[in-house]
């Protein structure tokens, strides 16, 4: 069976070029970069090169790059590392649509006695900046707002938020896991103090992440140990993965144009055809401010898990914000925060593309999706009721 992989906001294929540069560090070049001998030294040199590649990709200085184990660790480190540096401040601000790596930390902080604010979004998934402005005070230790949402692809006005916070002297962290590689990032021209990225969302393997920490930002290490990463993250460097991520960042920089032209065109093509061929379908999220690769659509009166499994049966890999896919009983917190009606929230499907997708694959989806939706609507008691109500 063929595989059409359109779930790249979940994880991506590891680029063959990335695998290739990693391999020697699993075998011959196993030295510890901290060692004094030549054998470790040659590895350290490569780790430094990878750090430069990541810095170059982010428009940062290599000294501002801290390697971590994943995006979640980067988010946790940014939040706890900042709160720890401002023990007198007891307020944390984030949004309602964050990844669990931030949202569940928020409820944890709440239990620990912190005051927390989760900024609202509107029906299009756009942040309420007025609420943000009103919520911050001298007691605010940190604001953490994602760069772009993983489910809808909606991009937040990060620099505008950064300006507001800069004027108030409040540190600003952003979870850039979904943004990196899809939209240009340049820390030199940015107001962001800390930015998380994750390797496996940009064609590096799982198990490697980065926390960018702007020079001069107060930060206490989250993982306490050796002197690695200039004392900001203990633990022997995950050498092969760091080198892989360096390569992936180099490639991501090269492919950024492609993401925003060819991949975006494929996404738009898929979106247009789906809307054209399937009635009662709506796009979730602000279509004017969206990652070029992401499409979240809701099919009314059908349920997401059923759609996914029928797609999967044809080799098409996507994901859903429906309740049933997660084992929880309520649909995704993102769609609920946006106020997507229940008729649509349960039937949401996310297609997320990458540079490896082709037009032919989009045509395959466009060919097979409409009969799947029709088949499930024929089984659904609500579809006929709806048609009746429309006099059809």
């Amino acid at each position: 069976m063929r595989t059409v992989y359109v779930d790249n906001n979940a994880t991506t294929r590891v680029a063959p070029e990335v695998v290739e540069v990693m391999l020697p560090y699993f075998s011959d070049l196993y030295g510890n970069p901290s060692s004094m001998h030549f054998f470790g030294g040659q590895v350290q040199k490569k780790v430094n090169e990878a750090r430069e590649q990541v810095a170059d990709f982010l428009g940062a200085d290599p000294s501002e790059i801290v390697f971590t184990s994943c995006g979640t660790e980067s988010d946790n480190a940014a939040i706890f590392g900042t709160l720890d540096s401002y023990p007198e401040k007891r307020h944390f601000v984030t949004s309602r649509v964050e990844h669990p790596a931030v949202l569940n930390v928020t409820s944890y902080l709440n239990r620990k006695g912190y005051r927390t604010t989760e900024i609202r979004v509107d029906r299009e998934g756009r942040l309420d900046l007025d609420e943000l402005k009103e919520s911050i005070s001298d007691d605010t230790a940190l604001v953490s707002i994602m760069y772009a949402n993983n489910e809808t692809g909606v991009i937040f006005p990060i620099e505008e938020i950064g300006q507001i916070l800069k004027a108030r002297g409040i540190p600003f962290h952003t979870d850039g896991v979904q943004a990196a590689g899809k939209i240009p990032l340049n820390m030199k021209k940015s107001t962001i103090d800390m930015l998380s990225i994750s390797g496996h969302k940009l064609h590096a393997p799982k198990g490697i992440g980065v926390l960018y920490i702007r020079k001069g930002t107060k930060f206490s290490p989250f993982i306490i140990g050796g002197h690695q990463e200039k004392g900001r993250r203990g633990g022997t460097e995950n050498v092969p993965y760091i080198i892989g991520l360096g390569k992936a960042c180099e490639l991501a920089k090269k492919h950024l144009g492609d993401e925003n032209t060819r991949v975006k065109a494929l996404r738009d093509y898929l979106e247009t055809k789906i809307l054209e061929k399937i009635p009662n379908t709506l796009v979730n999220g602000d279509r004017n401010n969206r990652l070029p690769n992401t499409l979240s659509v809701s099919f009314e009166y059908v349920e997401g898990e059923s759609i996914l499994l029928l797609l999967s049966d044809l080799g098409i890999c996507a994901s859903s914000g429906s309740a049933c896919t997660s084992g929880s009983l309520e649909p995704s917190h993102v769609l609920r925060a946006m106020g997507v009606p229940f008729t649509a929230a349960h039937g949401s499907i996310r297609f997320s593309l990458s540079i490896y997708n082709t037009k032919e694959e989009m045509d395959y989806i466009i060919e097979h999706l409409p009969p799947i939706i029709q088949r499930l609507r024929d089984i659904s008691p609500f579809w006929k009721d709806y048609l009746k109500s429309q006099g059809k």
Partner: protein
Amino acid sequence: MWDYTDKVKDHFLNPRNVGEIENPDGVGEVGSLACGDALRLSFKLDENKRIKEVKFKTFGCASAIASSSALTEMIKGMTLEEAEKVTNQDIANYLGGLPEEKMHCSVMGREALEAAIANYRGQKVVKEDFEIVCKCFGVTDREIIKAVRENDLKTVEQVTYYTKAGGGCAKCHPKIEAILEKVRKEMEQEGILQRPERKKLTNIQKIKLIEETLGREIVPALKADGGDLELIDVEGSKVYVALRGKCSFCPSSEFTLKQYVESKLKEFVSDDIVVEEVKP
């Protein structure tokens, strides 16, 4: 990805008896769009009052569609008296099992059947006659009690898996806990539940076991949240404890004691244990 059996996959990919019967003898509908799944079941009887034709329409996930399809196959040819005896467990068994988190799909099938039979008999299952325990999903005490009895449910989590109750805001968890306790006690008295035979403990053994259980199962979790607990005394089946740290002024401490401490001690020490808090 869910670990569905081949039978579930088959009934999802090739559902049997999809549709609605025109002029049915009975029709039942449960669930809603808001809840994420719904089932409309209709049937017609033959001259011998057996189910001649039965059809369903389902909005929901793969296991909801498969459960509905399975149910229709199971009850074809049955009298209503026979069909009434079909439990959600029978539906799950027919499918070779369902993931526990998805058992509510089989419960939905049984409820739709019940509603359809009541509709045929001119009765009405009126939700208003019962207390709505879970407001998020509109689940009544009657439905919870039935699920607990038919499936021998022991925890709030299981009740959520089987009925959805408690799967939203979680405010009803203490209520579900109370229902569980009451129903399981009734089941015990009716002799439905067999108590596992436990070795009789001497007083010293009992206190030791309580201490061990507290130290292993309970205190670490409380400490993680900034609380603590101290064993004060044991008198027969009564265990007196004092809550320390954050637990001592936590508004849900009573819930912690009953739901968590007592149930762990019941599990590891003795079924008759009652935990009481000693206030400073």
